[in-house]
Symmetry: C2
Subunit: 225 residues, 2 copies
Amino acid sequence: MTQGPSTDPGVIDLLGLLAYAELGSFFRLADDAGLAPTLRAKGQLAALAATEQAHYQALRDRLEELGADPEEAMAPFVAPLDAWTERTEPRSWLESLVKTYVGDGIAGDFYARVAGLADDETRLLIEGVLAETGRAEFVTETVRGALAEDPTLAGRLALWARRLVGEALSQAQAVAVQRPALARLLAGGGSETSSDVGDLAAVSRMFASLTEGHSARLRAMGLAD
Amino acid sequence: MTQGPSTDPGVIDLLGLLAYAELGSFFRLADDAGLAPTLRAKGQLAALAATEQAHYQALRDRLEELGADPEEAMAPFVAPLDAWTERTEPRSWLESLVKTYVGDGIAGDFYARVAGLADDETRLLIEGVLAETGRAEFVTETVRGALAEDPTLAGRLALWARRLVGEALSQAQAVAVQRPALARLLAGGGSETSSDVGDLAAVSRMFASLTEGHSARLRAMGLAD
């Protein structure tokens, strides 16, 4: 089921972006475990991280199948994704949980939106990666429990969630500018006649629409009415 | 296949020790990835870490099957294993690789030695965990390659390997003193008539014999003749 060199460079970009996002998520979860209050929570984070590693492996394998060099495909996304991680370093266990939930939520919405843009095999892979979550309950219950004990936390955590989204949108814009083939794919075009500026505007609209799911997630954590 | 409250407390101790060793190894590998020189090596470390997480999960599940609280079973081993990790913080990618190889080697020899001491189901589990390695080649090739480029590294890395073993034996002794039921199991006794001091001496002999495999591993890395 391999594809020749005719594969859309936007798809290679997309797979590279998703693969490095999963690898980065693996290391972030493992790192945040230092903030976990119990041995049990540490083990739960390790399990979440291992799931991300499996996703990374599947995406990396798909890049190889398509004849791409996986590390080369990931390279353009290392700086923007690392920048997001560094600019949003959690200072507490709760901030770390909110970051996981908000970050996964945005990633999930993004995956759902882009899956249909790639070839069938890549689409099935992305949908498979997307389906395999299930951490939401663990996070929302822990955050709601903490808010029940100390309602004054809500304001600070809501601001934190807002900052996470803002930084993500900012990095996404930078990526769209730097990777025209990816921007064209995300704009839903794929046609050579689409203009660069038109693609960027379409990508902006897509990312803006991703924030709709964000409000629902804030409510699930008890951080919005 | 659960066992009642009659399970040897030494077996619960052993499973708790192995489970926390795997969880600690997961976090150590994820942490050391910061030292990895390439994106590809980072991904390889993530894969190794995910394997450790799967082992941790299997050992944790077995503790639950036996009716034990997994976190309670792991608790006595958190301090000594964390102490080993902290006292042997690698300062370079090569030191990190040597630590992984030496640490895994000692752990593997230990697993092989103790598997036969537990009940059949636990033995099969430990042997399964043991069989699923395969990182040795990746490490030995990388270390040998680095030595070929700079032979003066050999002395420093050999000292480093010696320190890793010394610190491991020291922590193992502390554990044997603090956990008499485990010491009795490891001494091969299990009989109530064995003496505490006799058990400690037997455990010391067992740990001393583990260092035999260490020399072979040093040779495989090119760190001994």
